[in-house]
């Protein structure tokens, strides 16, 4: 396929997923290193290194924008709307100018806090550099503070909901947020409700994942349907949630402790099958069958969460205080007891609070140049 054919193919179908992965994975470490070098150069006082770091930073910003400009017009919804695509590019440019320094801010900040600046540091003779470093610190401070606000408004209430809600019976669960415990039962003939497989094949990570299928939760009182379709799930690992938090995500968690490991990480399989014990925290709604008119209760994620998020919305998440989803919404599926799920979620919460504090306090180190 020639270059023209490749671009036409991407325009019709979107770029392949490995391109997206590369576009995300190389940026943050590269730019963090560049900014760290720049900070050390500014502190130590060698203009050449400072200049090289600044140049590399600008190249990094430019490459980011090239990726985004290439991809955005290819998303089918935006293909016909060039003005919206340009507007998205501008918003992303502003976000990149803010987010990249914000992510790198604590590294030089902690160096300054712990060891202090050298006597002949560059910023001592350049007030503009002092202003830049303080602005840099403010970016990181805001970024870390947003992380703390997210955990206070979302992470802590999520844990409180799990601990404070009493367990309802499937047959008599009231409308609204409920906690249920029972056995998962498949609705159709397929006994596999969820399956995810991660294997290293020829030194490349191969991931296969199915969506979480609707199922029935059965306990001693009866059954109720659980329908998690329409929202993306993350298989929960306490440390991994740190990275989702850095990107401003508030994912819905599938806490699956029953997994099969094949040798070393990351070769493993996660699954939820018919007959597995299950714990669900979700919202009970009334659903009316359009043909028979019969009403039944179904447990779902919150209504506002069931919408598709565009690439631009997802990249701007870390800096948005107002969100489309309510802060209090929660939906958890676990194949463990409530106490085990609560302990795991609490561990992730503590990780995220710790690293948000790392970002916030570290960034204040850049204020010591004043």
């Amino acid at each position: 396929m020639g270059r023209k054919g490749l671009f036409s193919h991407w325009k019709a179908n979107g770029p392949p997923s490995w391109v997206y992965r590369i576009s995300i994975l190389w940026r943050l470490p590269f730019v963090a290193i560049v900014l760290f070098m720049g900070a050390m150069a500014a502190l130590v006082g060698t203009p050449i290194i400072t200049g090289m770091a600044a140049g590399a930073f600008l190249i990094g910003i430019g490459l980011n924008l090239v990726f985004w400009v290439l991809f955005l017009p290819f998303s089918p919804a935006r293909a016909a709307d060039a003005a919206a695509a340009l507007r998205d590019c501008f918003r992303l440019f502003c976000t990149a100018l803010f987010m990249i320094p914000a992510v790198a801010a604590p590294f030089p900040g902690w160096v300054l806090l712990l060891f202090g600046a050298l006597p002949d540091a560059s910023f001592a003779s350049a007030p503009e550099l002092t202003t830049l470093l303080v602005l840099w610190g403010l970016c990181g401070f805001y970024y870390g503070t947003m992380g703390l606000v997210r955990e206070w408004r979302w992470g802590l209430p999520q844990l409180q909901n799990i601990r404070n809600l009493p367990t309802a019976k499937a047959a008599s669960a009231a409308l609204g947020l409920v906690e249920l415990r029972g056995t998962a039962r498949a609705i159709d003939k397929n006994p596999t409700l969820y399956f995810k497989r991660e294997f290293l094949v020829d030194e490349k990570l191969d991931v296969f994942a199915e969506s979480l299928h609707p199922f029935e939760l059965e306990d001693a009182s009866g059954r109720v349907r659980v329908d998690p379709s329409g929202v993306p799930f993350t298989v929960y690992f306490p440390f991994i949630t740190l990275f989702t938090s850095l990107l401003g995500r508030r994912p819905f968690f599938a806490v699956l402790r029953r997994r099969i490991k094949h040798g070393w990480w990351p070769n493993r399989e996660f699954f939820l099958c018919d007959g597995d014990p299950v714990y669900v925290l979700g919202t009970v709604e009334i659903e009316r069958d359009s043909k028979t008119g019969q009403e039944s209760r179904v447990v779902r994620p919150p209504r506002e969460a069931r919408h598709h998020e565009s690439v631009v919305e997802s990249l701007m998440r870390p800096f948005r205080f107002r969100t489309r989803r309510a802060w209090q919404d929660v939906f958890v599926i676990a194949d463990t007891e409530e106490a085990d799920a609560s302990k795991l979620l609490a561990r992730g919460f503590r990780w995220r609070v710790f690293w948000s504090l790392f970002w916030t306090i570290g960034s204040t180190g850049l204020f010591t140049v004043l």
Partner: protein, 189 residues
Amino acid sequence: MSAIVLVVLIGGVIAAAGFVSLGVGVYNGLVQVRNNVEKAFQNIDVLLKQRHDELPKLIDTCRAYMKHEREVLEALTRLREHYEKSDSIDEKIGLENEINKKLSTITGRWEDYPELKASQNFLQIQGRVSELETKIADRREFFNDSVNIYNIQIERFPDMLLAKVLAYQRHAFLAVPQEDTRDVVMQFG
């Protein structure tokens, strides 16, 4: 102001914000468990009121046959009236537990009155009450679970500090009716 002082000041502000947010989190948790108890009671109160609406008919039917249980039937009538006038959850729980005890006494003595058991009217009312009892049983368990979580929360550190200031008191549990705890008599052969 030196930079170190500025950083220490910012650190102090972050620590103070942390304490305030911890306090707000504790307060919100207490409010949540209190409202959960109230919500759970409102959900069961709906069914209890339906059962109490059946009680006058049941009492009138039983009064015609169970002449020796007059005192228990009158106590049941008084308790029901008192329940309808009551506003507080704890008072209602206490009254409901008493109503359950009296009802258990009455149902335990039905066997002694074969004319009563043969009455169609009685059988209809008893059927409706039994149906409500099954629904009440599920919600009673849910309510008691809510009360258990609430009672633990207000006695656990550091929530107990704020709970004492806000005068949060323990809630009573809804007792299980005595006939549900009675041993089942097995008959073989």
